[in-house]
């Protein structure tokens, strides 16, 4: 029997507990205020832009509005799809306490369910969706109708999140049944193929047009918005209530995929024979790669982050100026899987690793290379899929795309390694629902990474419009040297024995 009162009370206890463990309260409060301010800005500012004037900016705005006007129902649907995808890939959403911490406490499935919902907004992808939706709505809805429309947008986001959570738990439940992993993969693949075929046949758009989101978008700009809001809130309440049952079902089953990976057998391999670099570096890279690819959460996350934005580029046929934003976001997402606290890959094994007779610089280099591989791989898939759709770009745009990709990868790498050295955390990443740092810190990391990489993408998109490719090369060289400097600084800090000991003891939580 599900007890919602107890579940809600326990969720509140856990949220308060987590809030008390926030190390730096000042930046946390400032970050929260910034999120609210940005939300208000995105919801209102675009409506006041002058689109009637002359000049490039006004032309660009008019072009943007034309593009958004017909596509808003599609974007609403996309928010729901992303909510489902996010809940599915994270095995039911984030957890308030790690699995090992929670094991000794009587935490009910309702608490897990409500906790996952409460933590959803502390997520880069979720915030970007909300901001994107608010911005697009503000661009196309008349200012006098904006308040009602934006309230509907927020209600839709809440409803989509709650519905996504229901599907997330259902899929996690199926995944935990005997052949569940295969079933989820096959069904997921089939759905992707069907969507692809519908798109190729030109049927996807007409299907989207008959979805309720079209009615939603049409009605939110009329006097009917309070009714729509009430309806969406009712859907949200029902979805939250309904989600308790699949959460209980899923959490009552053993996490087969994780258990299989945790008890996986890997036969002995010969020592690596590196073509370049030392044997020590090759050994550490092998160990670190194993730590990444033998984790259900990281493997699934890297796959989703690689294919997700790539599929958007492939299906939606984004212009290169928009594609330029994707590698940074994909790399940021990949860094948030483990890179922002890169030493947590070793868990309690970090103390043992620190007893190995190997130069600390090699350890740092190996971890940096493996993180770099993940960032470059994930963002590279996105670019490759955009290439498949758009074909080879003209020289100037091509130079911008390649250099932007390189710059954002090195940028995210340097920032991540710098944070990893400065603020390590002891976390247990055995569950796909786990995060490499506390949720508040993750929100800060996500915001800063997305801001930096988006601004970089926007800059390179602007540079792509210039007729001089050498300007782009110069700007890229400046960015790369700046990031390299940051990386060298983090490396130097790691090489100090006292700093390394602090990191090792923190990560191993001893």
């Amino acid at each position: 029997m599900l007890s919602w009162t107890d579940g809600a009370r326990d969720t509140a206890h856990l949220l308060r507990f987590r809030a008390r463990t926030v190390r730096r309260r000042g930046p946390a409060v400032a970050g929260f205020a910034l999120v609210l301010a940005l939300t208000a800005l995105f919801a209102t500012f675009p409506a006041h832009l002058d689109t009637t004037g002359e000049g490039q900016v006004a032309d660009l705005l008019r072009q943007l509005i034309r593009g958004v006007e017909g596509n808003l129902p599609l974007v609403f649907t996309g928010v729901l799809m992303l909510a489902i995808g996010s809940a599915m890939s994270s095995g039911g959403g984030r957890e308030l306490l790690s699995r090992s911490e929670a094991a000794v406490h009587p935490i009910s499935p309702v608490t897990e369910h409500l906790g996952a919902l409460a933590l959803t907004p502390v997520n880069l992808a979720w915030l970007i969706q909300v901001w994107g939706l608010l911005t697009m709505t503000a661009l196309v809805i008349a200012p006098e109708r904006l308040v009602g429309a934006q309230i509907v947008v927020l209600a839709w986001v809440v409803a989509a999140t709650a519905l996504g959570q229901v599907v997330g738990w259902l899929v996690e439940g199926v995944r935990r049944t005997t052949h569940g992993v295969v079933i989820v993969r096959v069904v997921g693949g089939l759905i992707a193929v069907v969507f692809g075929l519908l798109h190729l046949a030109g049927l996807l758009r007409p299907m989207v047009d008959v979805l309720p989101t079209t009615w939603l978008v049409e009605t939110m700009a009329t006097d009917g918005w309070p009714l729509v809001t009430l309806l969406l809130l009712a859907v949200s309440v029902v979805a939250v209530w309904f989600g308790g049952a699949p959460a209980q079902w899923a959490l009552s089953l053993p996490p087969r995929e994780e258990l299989r990976v945790e008890s996986g057998v890997h036969e002995a391999r010969h020592l690596p024979a590196p073509r370049s670099g030392s044997l020590e570096l090759a050994l550490m890279r092998r160990l670190d790669r194993g730590s990444v690819w033998r984790s259900v959460g990281m493997r699934r996350g890297l796959l989703v982050l690689g294919l997700g934005p790539g599929l958007v580029a492939l299906v939606a046929g984004l212009q290169w100026s928009s594609v330029l934003l994707l590698p940074g976001l994909a790399a940021s997402g990949a860094a948030l899987l483990f890179g922002v606290n890169a030493w947590c890959l070793d868990g309690k094994g970090m103390i043992w690793r620190e007893t190995l007779p190997i130069a600390p610089s090699t350890v740092f280099d190996a971890r940096t290379l493996v993180l770099g591989e993940c960032l470059a791989g994930v963002s590279g898939i996105t670019i490759t899929m955009a290439l498949m759709r758009n074909g080879l770009p003209p020289l100037q745009i091509g130079v911008s795309v390649v250099l932007c990709w390189l710059v954002v990868v090195v940028q995210v790498l340097a920032i991540s390694m710098s944070w990893s050295v400065r603020s390590p955390y002891g976390v247990d990443l055995s569950s796909p629902r786990a995060t490499p740092a506390p949720h508040g810190a993750m929100a800060g990391y996500a915001g800063r990474l997305s801001l930096v990489t988006t601004m970089t993408g926007v800059l390179f998109a602007a540079l792509a419009e210039l007729p001089w490719p050498w300007v782009t090369v110069l700007v890229a060289a400046f960015f790369l040297s700046w990031s390299a400097r940051r990386l060298v600084r983090a490396r130097r800090r790691w090489l100090a024995p006292a700093e390394r000991a602090r990191i090792a003891l923190t990560v191993a939580a001893v």
Binding site: E262, L283, P357, L429
Partner: protein, 231 residues
């Protein structure tokens, strides 16, 4: 007179405002096993970590196998085998991968037969290629002892190696200590289990509040005397 394998003089370790070790003096000879005893928070594990080259001393002079831990950390790590008090295993690696890495970094040839034998002695032969994330606490502890000892270090540091370990694992650990002593290695054993410390060690050092309060022969460590030193 031979130089002691472990020589600690006036060791201080501070973590911010916390003084984990406050002026410890300690020495241990090759071919001998020394018990490091004390209550929780006495500074045993921190001292072990300093000796293993994981934590640098804040002040004081520490040499292990003739190498200064502050200036020649890599040489110390080559000479030492260390079983940490908790964890000590990379969660997604297999025991064999741990052993292979450790052996390769120490440039060991033909280590496989001895490693296999050691795994069998600790009843870990069947799980040599299984990811350690799914191991029980006792299995992890046993593997940590295997990892500490397989390269036959000249200084063997065992921090709570009996914690949660079954009798077969305890016997295997005692054998490892005896083997290490027989080949002339210095063993430092930290444990709360006085009886096992008496069985394995020839001498004992008792720490309290980050300082050494006694150094005595194991035979002198009666239950009452030990209790009195702890309080």
């Amino acid at each position: 007179m031979n130089e002691p394998a472990i020589d600690v003089r006036d060791l201080y370790v501070r973590f911010g405002d916390v003084e984990a070790v406050a002026g410890i003096d300690l020495s241990a000879e090759s071919g001998q096993a020394t018990a490091l005893l004390g209550r929780n928070g006495a500074g045993k594990s921190t001292t072990m970590k300093v000796l293993a080259g994981v934590v640098p001393p804040t002040a004081g002079h520490v040499t292990v196998a003739g190498h200064d831990v502050a200036t020649d950390t890599l040489a110390v790590k080559r000479a030492v085998g260390y079983c940490p008090d908790v964890g000590g295993l990379v969660p997604r690696g297999t025991p064999w991968e741990h052993l292979q890495l450790s052996a390769a970094l120490r440039r060991m040839d033909d280590w496989e037969v001895a490693a296999r034998d050691l795994l069998e002695r600790f009843e870990l032969g069947d799980v040599a290629h299984r990811v350690v994330g799914g191991f029980s606490h006792g299995m992890s502890r046993r593997l940590s002892v295997v990892l500490a000892s397989h390269h036959e270090p000249s200084v063997l540091l065992l921090d709570e190696p009996f914690d949660g370990v079954d009798p077969i694992g305890v016997d295997a650990t005692l054998d490892v200590i005896a083997d290490a002593r027989a080949r002339g290695a210095c063993v430092l054993l930290s444990t709360h289990l006085r009886e096992l410390a008496l069985e394995a060690c020839t001498s004992a050092v008792v720490l309290r509040g980050g300082s050494r309060v006694a150094a005595l022969q194991a035979a002198e460590l009666s239950g009452e005397a030990y209790r009195a030193l702890l309080d």
